[in-house]
Amino acid sequence: MKWMYSQRLAPYVFVLPFVLSLAVFFVYPVLSTFIMSFQEVLPGQTHFIGWANYENLWDESFYTALWNSSKYTFWTIVVLIPLPLVLAVFLNSKRMKWSGFFRSALFVPALTSVVVAGIVFRLVFGSLDASVMNSIRHLFGFETINWLASSTTGMLVLVILATWRYAGINIVYFMSALQSIPDELYESASIDGANTWQKFWRITLPLLKPISIYVITISIYGGYAMFTESFILWSGNRSPNDIGLTMIGLLYRHGIEKNELGLGSAIGVVLLTITMVINVIQLRLFGLFKKED
């Protein structure tokens, strides 16, 4: 056993758990997703059916799921990048007091599980007259509505839930980036006569670009991977006219509920492709691949 203690072998022993786990629980499943997407997977008689799964994919529920997931991803990015960015700048400003306290208060929702968050939002956005949001509508003279019955208000609830849960985390991301910007930059800009607005546009925003790109990237993956929120709000994977159906919901429906592993895998491959393509376009737009600095 002495060889195990050699300095040359030690690093391999250290990284062994990852290599094993990677092989068994990542590389093999990813490869078999690709393979299964060309198969009809039945107990005992799995066989290749070419592109049939990909051809059968394009039904109405697929477009609904893709549209819902895309809308959700779009709106969460539109809200959850600028808002936390501005709030982080405020919290980081010298005029702000007790910013640590407020940062924590906004961060607390991130601690809840999506299940608990969904349960709370079902209550707050309940369909009855006395339900919290409906009673607030009454104050402004609007009628009671069933928030989860239409695709527009349903999406609104999903986006509000996401904003509530993730704004705090994104604020922390942006604040950590802001704190690494040297004060001297702002001081010399002030000497040159720049006002607060100019300093924000010319110094703060450009220097927040790397962290923004990171947050957008994880938001795209996270947005298209959304499932639990809708599963809880609509009490399961079924919703009227599939207004709450997401891409993962569709994958779950085919792969787990209907046991069509082949078709489910094809959906997984399409989803992975979509998110990667969007991310590459996004990274290109923001110039991450440019060798400027």
Binding site: V30, M96, W164, S176, I218
Partner: protein, 280 residues
Amino acid sequence: MSVRRFSPQTLLLLVLFVILGALALFPFYCLALASFKPSKELLRFGLNIKLQADLLSWNNYSFIFSAGGAKYITWYKNSLVITAVYTVLCMLLSSMVGYGLAMYRFFGRNLIFIFVLLVMMVPIEIIMLPLYKQMIALNLIDTFSGVILPFVVSPLPIFFFRQYAAGLPKDFLDAGRIDGCSEYGIYFRIFVPLMTPAFGAMIIVQALASWNSFVWPLIVLNSGEKLTLPIGLSSLVTPYGNNYDILIAGSVLAIVPIMLVFVFFQRYFVSGLTVGGVKG
């Protein structure tokens, strides 16, 4: 305290953040309030934000701790067991890998690190079908091992430990060797104690992730007595009327321990949950 100490801008910012803070905490108020209201009232009229003091009682909580809440207690225990086992194994294995990647130069190191980053990026939901098939093949369906094993060597803590260990002086490694310590002894006796803050952040983040995880346990577990807390709670959410008594008070009890830990170990949460943002 006089308001005049603050400039108008400060006052404006404070007003803004008091409102935002109240909005962030409002759902917690709603949940707590609902947990003290009778479930029949919630089912028939919805959650009223007014206190309605005459309706409030501890009944839902006492129900959970009576015979009727036995299944909830089982879920709670299951979640505690899974979270504890997962967190301990994850810390041991991930810190080893992170340490190995940071301290040694060896053939294949960069490739392994690229894979760490790659796995970090792909959401598990996308590979869950083949992973599910894998679990069937390994006979791990409906077992705690099936919930724990696939994610126990987790890329996020590996990345974090690697970054942390890379900042520690390598002189300790040489010193340990001169004193005749084995490579593994150096890790356990010298570097594990040095990485305590990193462990603090990662224990909290991984325990939280495990406590709250939903999609994977939903797929792996199916018998009632093995469900975890989030799955159990979600099974109470039905289209035909809810079991509000256990559901709401149970949700409160699920977040109370997290809140307590957060109050005492806040800085670990903040540094741990934003790992990916630390430039590698």
